[in-house]
Symmetry: C2
Subunit: 465 residues, 2 copies
Amino acid sequence: MGDAHPTIVFYIYLLRKESWWLNTQHSALNILDEKFVGVKLGILGLGTVGTGTVQLLQDAVGRHPLLEEVEIYRVGVRSPDKPRAVELPQSAITTDLAAIVNDPAVDIVVEVMGGLEPARSLILQAIKNGKHVVTANKAAISRFGAEIFNAANEAGVYVMLEAAVGGGIPVIQPLKQALSVNRIHTVIGIVNGTTNYILTRMQTEGSDFSDVLADAQRLGYAEADPTADVDGLDAADKIAILASLGFGGRINLQDVYCEGIRQVSKTDINYAEKLGFVIKLLAIAKYQNKANSQLSVRVHPTFVPKAHPLASINGVYNAILVEGEPIGQVMFFGPGAGAGATASAVTSDILNLVAALKSNSAVPNPLLSCRHEDYCQVTPIAELVTRFYARFLTKDHPGVIGKLGTCFGNHGVSLESVVQTGFQGALAEIVVVTHDVKEGDFRQALDEIRNLEAIDSIASILRVL
Amino acid sequence: MGDAHPTIVFYIYLLRKESWWLNTQHSALNILDEKFVGVKLGILGLGTVGTGTVQLLQDAVGRHPLLEEVEIYRVGVRSPDKPRAVELPQSAITTDLAAIVNDPAVDIVVEVMGGLEPARSLILQAIKNGKHVVTANKAAISRFGAEIFNAANEAGVYVMLEAAVGGGIPVIQPLKQALSVNRIHTVIGIVNGTTNYILTRMQTEGSDFSDVLADAQRLGYAEADPTADVDGLDAADKIAILASLGFGGRINLQDVYCEGIRQVSKTDINYAEKLGFVIKLLAIAKYQNKANSQLSVRVHPTFVPKAHPLASINGVYNAILVEGEPIGQVMFFGPGAGAGATASAVTSDILNLVAALKSNSAVPNPLLSCRHEDYCQVTPIAELVTRFYARFLTKDHPGVIGKLGTCFGNHGVSLESVVQTGFQGALAEIVVVTHDVKEGDFRQALDEIRNLEAIDSIASILRVL
């Protein structure tokens, strides 16, 4: 550049002018500032995660030195007079969240309020105003991801979401960066701490679901309304996000099959144990058919072989297993929730944005932006090919096992084992494990079996990993 | 920028001129090119890792689209006529490695030749020529890291080393980025696949070290000269690198205490099992004394409680556990070696550099560069505070246990248990487990014990996690 000619300099100016990056206010300023002047955060929400993030940022010594350049500029709350675990200047606190996303001085909006609205609208408004966004909001991203990332790409800003899945575990960033050189074929997660805690206690204590749930609610490991957790909805949001990153396409949340753990009984946990399995609520995304890019994306309680890396993930811990070519199998393990862990993830996103702002790129870093616009093809659950475990209660007629076998055979369902395991009162209990079968065929066989005179009920149906 | 004044434009020019980034040839070119023209790699070495990397890059469809902008421009080999698993144009192959690092067209030098020299000189020359470097060379980085990163910071280039530790597991990048918002206090790894394979087989088969080693050599899991692996030297290189990243300072490799697994016997593995432990070769870096930043950095076979996340990492797999505030405990698990896994890590570094080049930053991304220049204070092993397991062979005199207890007591070593476990021929076997003690005190007690007339030998000494 020593011999740069004024014409060339002007050419640089033109290039820069055209680059989307300069559409944002602060970046234009940064280029003109000789010294980087720090980054101003507007934080939406001061609940568990917001408080944890503020605590982390206010206590920056001994952490990455870039954090010292972050200023907690505005914090939006619902009740300004509520006692808080953190001290903030009264001038920083406001109930006017729109004012934060519209404030020209705010560089990064940190959305940690949760919920769908007004979170969605505030995120979109922040993007429209050229601000980068950090969010922990899996519900909003899994539902409005397409809208949000389209807007972000258009505005030339980044939307970061490390905290949306797996609490403190760095998994979003590895999927976007290090692992993306692989052809990912499987992402399987234990991504809901509440259900993993409940299943672990059911397993170790031999307790019933409802008793453990009640105790988990008392101890604060489950919400008063546990629906989102125990019915698998939270895990469905998360696997939609992970699948999107792992497989490089968007996911329609409606395409994610979702089954919770309410129907898992201690009887099934005992049978799993005897057969060499543990029951885990898995969130699974994998190629059902690689040739035509058909993806299976689903959440359900699953028989996991005891030797599998996910079998030993217990309590409130989360783990995400990724399989790809050529890497093989990698797994990320850590705390799936909690103020500190989630604050770590939120702050790591802030750190990445500060670094991006500071390095003052001419074009956006393609590893930080959302790179896909097409939707993944998700196969209906009836097309899934998997092994099944099923437990039947039958009248103690001779020949029941034969009738079951015939019904399964009629629908092409091949069985690995059929065992009469004992009695429940006057009813015989029969446990069936299938080979790999198409779920639709299996369900049709069950419909036929349900009508058999000898069958009292189908006590449980679980998929086997 | 719509109202930018020519003076301001000239100011931008001056700023840009002063920025280190423009010292590198291609960056200056990039700024002038309207369209990004791709990245040229110079690869040094075409062994297992080099071949895996070339295979991955030659088969880019379905991976991150940025990889399609990478050109394998030059590949340096020792024997150009050797049959290869990959096809490359003859013009790309050369035996003149210096010509690659001096070639003005090369953007990134990928050093996958291993060894200390000429790897070190070639890396330094590449840096001097303004090229970014990707290396898988833990030996060179752990020894010459200070020299290499000083040179890189001065030249304004990045040196990336994801493949140097943990094979395909993304751990370097999480430590530099996501986890760096935490105050890390512990990094513990199973970072050598060969020794973990040997210990796992000793444990499951009840075999002796030498038998399993011979078999591992036959199967290709151990080298003909297994020294670097079984004596812990490879793990020492790796924990020096991890500690440096986790604790934000350089590590003198000489300060890393290192003990291998040759002396681990099947007898000790059995005792470990009975006491509720497994024996793993751990590479540990943790604050010995947080107040004065004293770090303990060491490699040794260790009793690991069975419930610990690292206890179930078996075979050739690696895992790295990181503990910090506020995140708590996170663990990264995956294949620690192999062409595919290591190629994934090398290529993820290449991807990051391509993204950095493409985003054309005005200043270096502080998350990609080395940010520390000071050395960590590492405490001598004698200052370590830990629990010990020790096994003694004694003449079957009455009162031996009392004498042992007295010697330990003389040196302030508090015991958790002393058990006479049986006999080996005419000798009684006594197993001692201590509470937390200072290693120096424990060693002094052992010196005294060694001189007791009743003591035949000290069969083994192992630390307890």
